[in-house]
Amino acid sequence: MNKRDFPTMLLYVLGFLLLWEWLRPVEQLTETDNIEVFVLFLLVSLAMSYLKIKWIWQFIIKILFILFFIHRFYYEASFFQLNWLTSFSNDFIYNMGLMFARNWNDLSYEFRTFLLFILLWLMMYLIQYWLLRQQQIFIFFFMTLIYITVLDTFTLYDAKFAIVRTVAAGFTVMGMLTFYRIINREKVKSSPAFMKKWMIPLTGMIGFSVLVGVVSPKAAPFWPDPVPYLKAAKEGAGNSLGNGPSRIGYGTNDERLGGPFIGDNNPVFMAEASGKNYWKVETKDVYTGKGWTPYGSTPFDFQEGELVPFYSIPDTVETTKETATIYPVHTKEPLIVYPAGLQRIINIEPNYEAGFRQLRMDTTNEKIESFQTVEYKLDFVIPKYKIEDLRKTTDFNSNGINRAFYKNYTRVPENLPKRIKQLTEEITAGKSSWFDKAKAVEAYFGRSEYSYDQKNVALPGPGDDYVDQFLFETKRGYCDNFSTSMAVMLRTIGIPTRWVKGFTGGDFLKYSQDNNMRIYKITNNNAHSWVEVFLPNQGWTPFEPTRGFTNDIRINYGSNEATSNEQPAVPASVQKPQDKPLDEPKQTTSEKKMFDFTLFWLKTKIFFKTNWVWIALTIGGLAALITILYRTRGKWLPYILLLSYRFKQKDETINTAYLTLLHQLDRYGLKRKENQTLRNYAQYVDQFFSTREMTRLTKCYEEYLYHQHLPKGSWLETRKLWENLIKRTIA
């Protein structure tokens, strides 16, 4: 089979693709550059092997290739001034020593490059051995899959397409090799026609299953992401905050928002409180077009038990007192989480100095830091706003707000696209108060064209504005997209806003020991961001633009009726919204009119996503129906056959009729072994039914089959026999 025909070339190409999958992540995950040289090496070597160049030439060419590129990467002088070789061989010998001393880290780069070449060489040999000699590739294919999935799980490498590619290539190779193995085992002369017969269904099946696999909705993993767990196990109480850009959780750097998120179910802290609360960590003030940066830093030290130096809720607002206790999971974590309306931080454990703990707060960001806290108690108030007070502010008034402060919190980048402002003005048209305008913008995100999504979230390109991209192009995203958009939109119409980061209320765990309080578990998945709008005389009022999340404030709608319209103070927030039925993203722009494959793909995906229940039900129902029909075919199929053959007059009918009868008998349970001759089988059938019909019919068929002899009118004579036999197969 070691030939130079097209199938062999296909095998080589597929082998090359599988090997390439091993190299792809290397470039992304390690410092290896110029990966294309190694790919070229693979190509050249496999091509030489396919062309069956004499081994000695293959060897020389490969060695020259390796030396040439090592020289190109690491040596200055000309390749043909061979003195670089001395230096390389010295390096080589030195590194061999290091290798045997297992000083892996000290190996020089050229030696590493050399080793990688050698490794590829070995792998290629193995591939050839598996493909052409052994004709079994499963182990390698399986290892490739494991390699890719492990990298996908534990590193940043996104193997979404790698898996698809590998599965397609791998199964094709395995299918082809199975074909060759069967050919070899059965000693059949293979012909291109066989190959075609084999390859067409194979390609079809692989294509179909890959398509179904890609398109069909996938369940989220049943187990928690192992990475943070492993990391935690490795680093002890490691720093779980800021686990890298693509992992959910609390991160401090928000200069560049966007991109997909991966869930992380590791707990961050426990909260003991009377109800669910949003937990703040810090606020950010300056929108850059890509993300948020702090406006500045004004550290301020204060003591445990002292009033926290916030811009607190004005006295005009009615409040209720509450307390909560926080138990951080990672005690090294310096950040304090707190609810809006925080008054004091008390009872910080452990209490080292048997006195009051010193705390540091950044008053600009409202970020409070402490160190190594195991437990702390928070005194806070929950405001109850009056609706007419909230609606009082309709315009900027320097009496209510400091001008510099106002300027700070309404600042937007100069190059912010104008359409954001236009959109905001459209949304808020007809509303006069800041509060109503903010509510209108908040409600705007509830429209069905916006969807919550953690995965298919774009990262703005160099020319894109983060908010603009979300509002007008992608329309799908998570809390950062929604909250940043709302904050920026309100700023464009002159309402001071800021961006708040923290955690949602978490999952209710149990009641505390004295049953008055509830204990909630807050995980990295609860990391969240929302918006606060500054209303003069009311303070910073929170808003929740993100779809599927609620953080309603208490508002007293009737001026004096205290509680009639009171909203629940802290309603259960919906953590992970189910994927809501998505409408097709509206493509209004004219340039999208031409056929766009991506669009088509997206539409298909969305179609499957929205209708997958119906599709699944229909397929399931059809499958059930077919199964039932198939299982009961013994009851109805013979009648249909009898009917369909009744009117056939031609003598040749015996051909199909007899074969059909064989099928029916087989289905009935009278199996004919492959090596059983017809008359032998007929005798067996006749014995079973105690007749002579099958033998007589078989004699007629044998005459036809082995003698090409079909007397006129023979079918009409034998039809009765055939019908009797078919009737006997009715279950």
């Binding site: 492959e674 090596n675 001759t677 017809l678 089959l705 082995y706 003698h707």
Partner: protein, 318 residues
């Protein structure tokens, strides 16, 4: 096997043989297959099971001249083929035909003689002529050799090489008669052997006509394909060192034609092939020594192969 009607002439011959041979109808049938197909038979069996009796009965039934050659180590080729002797009165060499110049020849213990003599016989079998002193003598037609080989003794024997075994259409064993059959043998042995009482059923011309008729037995392409499939499998089988040659395929087809004729059919069915494959093919393959050590016989290999090849039940589409 489904019992079928037997060709009337053949039936008479078989009945004739059965008068002297008790049981062994299958051996008689197969011998007839070889005779009708123009082939030869190699019987591998111990002495005393009635080989000679059967051949003589067969010869008698078709009114053919019967010769017997007892092969010994010192037998010369000329002892088999005949020799030219100088006749002083005629002043020339005269050919004295040897025992090979008969119609039906029993070559007893063929592996006892030297390869030279063996090949003289085998050449005659293949070419239907012998060349002595530059003169080619046509052998009589029909010409049918039934050679026997003793499988027990190996000392002082010259086993036939595979290439020569190929010349035999069928190779079979006679086997011992069963209890009742052997008692019947004893009963008959008390009287005069009845072989002298046999009357010929047909004459040699009749036999020749039958032989011609066999060539007209129809072999469909599906059957030919089936034959080739079986023979092909012997070539790649794991226990087989050397598979059957195309001559094997031809032999299988010819034997099947004769067999179909015996059963009064003018076409071959897969049953014929299945039945005959274990007689036509085993001596045409060479087993690997591993297989021999494992105790697998060539017959078993062929049976397994036949059991694996699907029987054609549909029209063969090219």
């Amino acid at each position: 096997m489904v019992k079928e009607q037997i060709n009337p002439t053949i039936d008479k011959i078989l009945a004739n043989i059965e008068k002297v041979m008790i049981g062994k109808r299958d051996v008689a049938e197969l011998s007839l297959v070889a005779l009708l197909a123009g082939g030869h038979v190699l019987l591998e069996d111990v002495p005393g099971v009635g080989k000679t009796m059967m051949v003589r009965a067969l010869a008698k039934s078709v009114n053919a001249s019967f010769r017997r050659i007892q092969f010994t180590p010192d037998l010369l080729p000329s002892d088999v083929t005949g020799v030219s002797i100088y006749n002083p009165s005629e002043m020339e060499f005269q050919f004295r035909p040897g025992p090979l110049m008969g119609n039906i020849i029993l070559a007893d213990e063929i592996n006892r003689t030297s390869p030279k003599t063996q090949s003289a016989l085998l050449e005659g079998m293949e070419e239907a002529s012998v060349t002595i002193d530059g003169v080619t003598h046509k052998l009589q037609k029909p010409f049918f050799v039934m050679a026997t080989q003793n499988p027990i003794e190996y000392e002082g024997t010259y086993p036939l090489p595979e290439a020569q075994l190929d010349r035999f259409l069928l190779k079979m064993k006679m086997g011992y008669p069963d209890l009742h059959e052997e008692m019947e043998v004893l009963n008959r042995a008390q009287r005069i052997p009845p072989i002298e009482d046999l009357y010929p059923v047909i004459d040699l011309d009749g036999l020749r006509i039958l032989q011609e008729e066999i060539k007209d037995v129809y072999v469909d392409d599906t059957i030919k394909r089936y034959i080739v499939d079986i023979v092909n499998r012997t070539r790649g089988h794991e226990s087989v060192y050397l598979g059957a040659s195309p001559r094997g395929s031809i032999a299988l087809m010819k034997a099947a034609q004769a067999y179909a004729f015996i059963y009064d059919r003018d076409y071959v069915v897969p049953d014929d092939i299945q039945y005959l494959a274990t007689f036509v093919l085993p001596h045409r393959i060479i087993l690997k020594s591993e297989a021999k050590f494992e105790g697998i016989s060539a017959e078993e290999v062929i049976s397994r192969i036949v059991a694996r090849v699907p029987v054609p039940v549909q029209r063969f589409v090219k």
